[in-house]
Symmetry: C2
Subunit: 408 residues, 2 copies
């Protein structure tokens, strides 16, 4: 018995913002089955329906976001609507199809409402429906915890649903269809020289997660850990997209693959802190308790036994973070300063690994443009600088040229 | 240990058509808890949200209504939205509250999608939450079948959810809040003399189900069978409503309690059918197979071995019914006639039971108005006539006077 190949396809909300679009996507799904594939489809909520639900909730409760159990049930309805409508559309086009909610698709999670993690997937029901030759349409973004309550997987959760299902079902690959045509060397809105990549490694994609495709890092991590290739392409065109996978020709790759930009950056500096073990953890605990993500962290060397401790948060979290720092108990410091109008500029590439020279090249390009570097942080395959937001455009253009990213 | 009294309250969609209304209803619920009650709330979908979902479905599939499994999942989201918003509103007003979906509330049903019947209720989860002193807000209209699929209970299903939960939880009574102030002696839009009843028996209410409150007969049946008092009142006022219950002073009741009107009536006559056993069942089977309800059935006596067989259906089902009758196989008949512009006029009252005179009084009132009676059918506590739709207003006014319904 030959077994058909299986693919998991995910369609985002911007690809499903009207019933006409749903109907078009249904055609796209059917064309995949005509290529001999079994297809499991994962859908996000239609267009801005999630925002509408959040708005309704805030009208009845100004603090609704913190009542995460109820918000999870509320928000999970958006994907139930889109999954049933997609199924009805497929059936209207004479394809056998069935919708499954997260729990029906066997997606079990932990109990962290609002950003639950998948703990297990029971594929029995999906398998059963696939065996009946049905297209299975799964409501993304949601699962069930062991109390029997609906949970949601947080921002970009449908990507995570899709990659996790692809892994559990041993699919050929996971296809993420979205409103961009793939992964670019840098943001195409900044420079027209930005080039779409045919492929990129999981590690590079993790670093570039904020680039263009706005992919959820968790789904990339899943792909990396389970070696599940993820193909990112446009919902609206048949242009080739970008394959994120375990690269086979890593040695001959370009050193720098892309330039990532994040303009939603603010920094906080706590000056004159006693330089003693454990102080960093103590300073940051109030923020992590409140669920505020901290990105770049820099601690300056000190001469007089005190140190300046600087970190970045997203601009939208700045106000809350500053007020939390103001209420620090039992920590002595001189003062707290904060800065906005910053941006994060990174070059990313597995080829840079353990090779010197890339950092100094980046810094000299920025220096030649008179761009002041505020903070620096690096990983094995990434060099990140914090610079003034106004310097971003010219810096990206110059670095894109300097590292010859336009050439394939 | 004294146990608090428990009440189940149901709020319909017209009471929940905006977040402001939800907030007002939340106050109403809280005022009940201040009277020392534990409260379980059952909500319908907000305003016209169900119609909007149906419209979306028909845009992607013109035949969506027949794909009942998917429609059930789609429509069930409406009640999930209203139940979570109500819960968020209660929490905003500093009350402990939790929303439960149909399945979380333990509501199990058969597998007839679109009009499922409740087979069992497991009250453990509700009881657990009540014990924590929470107001429990249950999504009405929905349950789960033994395949793990969401089902819906059909038109008026939230009323059924409410009465069934009241029975399962052994509540003091079930309160149905809606857009009318209670049950009237007849439709107040027809005569201003219509009087709101303080109480009515289950049996009478079953017969009058189409009157004013537009209550689901299934919920009344449940109340009758399990002797669960059902109180019907307005969501928007504090006016006293109507209590539907097992009457204790049946003997001294008025003979006629109310006059029911249904203007959505059409009739079909099959002429010249062989008058033989089983012919009625054979004639009506194609209709019941298609889910078309048949109301009044009259079979005229025959002289030549054939008979004329007449029945009524709702006007909206007439066309389908006639075409189904046209395809009758193996039954000889002369011809089929159909009639519209009809209405059903009934007088209802347990006091009429086994007492003659009410029918002749009704008929003589109609006769004095020159109203032609097309068909007649009776139950123990109801006399129904089919008359011309244009004669309804004057007939109701005259009967309301003749049976002295205005006086309490």
């Amino acid at each position: 018995m030959t077994r058909k190949k299986l693919v998991v396809q995910k369609y985002g909300g911007s690809s499903l913002s009207s019933t006409d679009q749903i109907s078009n996507i249904a055609e796209k799904i059917i064309s995949k089955t005509k290529q001999g594939y079994m297809v499991v489809v994962v859908v996000s909520a239609m267009g801005d329906s999630t925002d509408n639900l959040i708005s309704l909730a805030s009208q009845v409760n100004s603090n609704a976001n913190s009542i995460t159990r109820e918000m999870d049930i509320l928000l999970s309805t958006g994907e139930l609507v889109s999954s049933t409508l997609m199924t009805l559309s497929l059936i209207a086009k004479n394809k056998k199809a069935i919708s499954l909610s997260g729990v029906q698709a066997g997606i079990m999670t932990d109990s962290v409402h609002g950003s639950a993690r998948i703990s297990d997937i029971n594929i029995n029901r999906i398998q059963e429906e696939l065996n009946k030759d049905s297209i299975v349409v799964v409501a993304g973004f949601q699962g069930l915890n062991n109390l029997g309550d609906v949970t949601t997987l947080g921002r970009g959760g449908s990507d995570t649903t899709a990659v996790a299902l692809a892994v559990a079902l041993n699919a050929e690959r996971c296809e993420i269809y979205t409103d961009v045509e793939g992964i670019y060397t840098t943001d195409p809105r900044i420079t027209k020289k930005a080039r779409k990549l045919d492929e990129i490694s999981f590690e590079e994609m993790l670093e570039m997660a904020s680039l263009g495709a706005k992919m959820n890092p968790r789904s990339i991590e899943l792909g990396l850990v389970y070696n599940m290739p993820v193909y990112v392409a446009s919902s609206f065109s048949i242009e080739q997209g970008t394959l994120i996978h375990r690269s086979s020709n890593m040695e001959i790759r370009k050193a720098v693959t892309g330039i990532a930009v994040d303009k939603n950056v603010a920094k906080i500096t706590v000056k004159g802190v006693m330089d003693q073990p454990g102080i960093a953890a103590e300073l940051l605990k109030p923020l992590s308790d409140e669920g505020i993500s901290i990105d770049v962290i820099v601690q300056n060397t000190s001469s007089d036994g005190t140190t300046d401790f600087t970190y970045t948060v997203s601009e939208s979290n700045l106000e809350r973070a500053v007020s939390l720092m103001g209420s620090l108990d039992g920590i002595n410091y001189k003062n707290i300063e904060s800065g906005i109008d910053l941006a994060k500029l990174s070059i990313v590439g597995t080829g840079m690994e353990n090779s010197p020279g890339y950092a100094s090249k980046m810094f000299s390009v920025l220096s030649s443009l008179n761009v002041n570097i505020d903070m620096i942080t690096t990983s094995e395959i990434r060099i990140t600088t914090i610079i003034n937001k106004n310097d971003i455009e010219k810096s990206v253009v110059a670095l894109h040229d300097a590292f010859e990213l336009e050439a394939p």
